[in-house]
């Protein structure tokens, strides 16, 4: 129960930060996708299934604050969460820089899915050279914010009674 409340707090906090503070902290027109990075953190801890579910729900909540079609962030984050969880489970060694690298990779994949599906859904200007540049810059930005977001996500995912659960 405590863990669920913390996870809700995590998602709400990240969406508030992304829709307020980070809109003024654009770098070359790009901002990080905090919920996507949190999904990567959950995938790192919990594996693909829970990451897909967390990514879907957090993405759906974020979508309520965007002009793009509802479900677009949910889709990209769910697929990325599943992919990162599966990839991380297959890895033999973990390292300190892993969160940053995973977040950057997830940013590229998530951005590509978002742009591609958005274009198919009829959103204008999603498949252009500029979009590619923005996706790359945003992925680097995702890597930069990975450390604090991972720490926050780990705290939220921690149940004080049973400790961390790594169900992979």
């Amino acid at each position: 129960m405590v863990r669920r409340v913390r996870l809700v707090l995590l998602v709400v906090s990240l969406v508030v930060l992304q829709t307020t503070a980070f809109t003024h902290l654009r770098i070359f027109g790009a901002i990080p996708d905090l919920c996507l990075v949190a999904t990567v953190a959950i995938a790192y801890e919990e594996g693909p299934e829970r990451a897909a579910l967390f990514g879907f729900l957090s993405g759906l909540f974020l979508d309520l604050f965007l002009s793009s079609p509802l479900g677009l962030s949910a889709l990209s984050q769910a697929v990325v969460g599943y992919g990162v969880g599966a990839f991380q489970g297959a890895m033999l060694r973990e390292s300190r820089t892993m969160p940053a690298f995973l977040s950057a990779g997830a940013g590229l994949l998530g951005g590509a899915i978002f742009a591609l599906v958005g274009a198919v859904a009829g959103e204008a200007g999603y498949l252009t050279g500029t979009s590619l540049r923005v996706i790359i810059v945003a992925a680097i930005y995702d890597a930069v914010v990975a450390l604090p977001v991972f720490a926050f996500a780990r705290w939220a995912n921690h149940d004080p009674e049973i400790g961390y659960s790594r169900r992979r």
Partner: protein, 289 residues
Amino acid sequence: MVVYRRDQREARRRPVLLIVVVAALVLITIDSRGSGLIDSARRSARDALQPVQSIVDSAFNPVRNVVDGITSYGSVKDQNALLKRRVAKLEGRLLRDRAVGSEVGELERLLDLPTIDDATGVAARVVSGSPDNFERTVIVNKGASKGVQLSQPVVAGNGLVGKVTAVTSEEATVTLIDAPGFGVGVRLEGSNESGVAEGRTGDRTMRLSFLSRQLPLCAENAAADTCMRKGELVFTTAVANAAFPPDIPVAKVKNRTKRVGELEATITLTPLVDLDDITYVKILRWPGP
């Protein structure tokens, strides 16, 4: 045995991903076609989180000011914004005078078409930009409670900014004129030829298409109504039931290029308003009550 367990685990994983992907695709399809239920869910979520966003935004203000630069810190920034607003307003009046000075203004009066002077408005402050990487929007601090409605035009002192595309009780989302897919009917200042100014992706410019007559760039001493000049202004057109009031300055001609084999020249426009640095806007009640 190991292989069997892995297969079993893989089989268990697939339905979770499949279910969320299908659910997301269904939602995308429904929302793309337009859904009142999703719109009201959006409004409710935004209204619910708005007070928290407001507090966080205010708390973040000092950091934002530092990021914006030392010159616009604290009271200097407020003063600067006020001065910019006044200058932009005066520039806008000057540019509108240029439009009214042309024959179109007289014709509009003859035809009894509504003008920008007929539109009252609500002044609003830009509180944040787009929360994702693919939108060209800003959020303003006035919403339905102040009479703001969907599709209302938004102007800054010196020109058109965009239109309202989402409204909650206390805030509104404004899609900027250089957003991909955004189109506005315009006319050229010199020749009065009409066309459509469309947003382009990423490069902060617009493209002028569907001109009623193809015009070359002006040579020296050429008559203004037979060509176009770099820097020439484009204004919103005056047509019945238009989405925007007539004679609002929109952009100026940046360049015109025509490659061999192309049917239509590419005319690039630069929006008059610095859309990356807007502090105050006016939301026009258009068409008026």
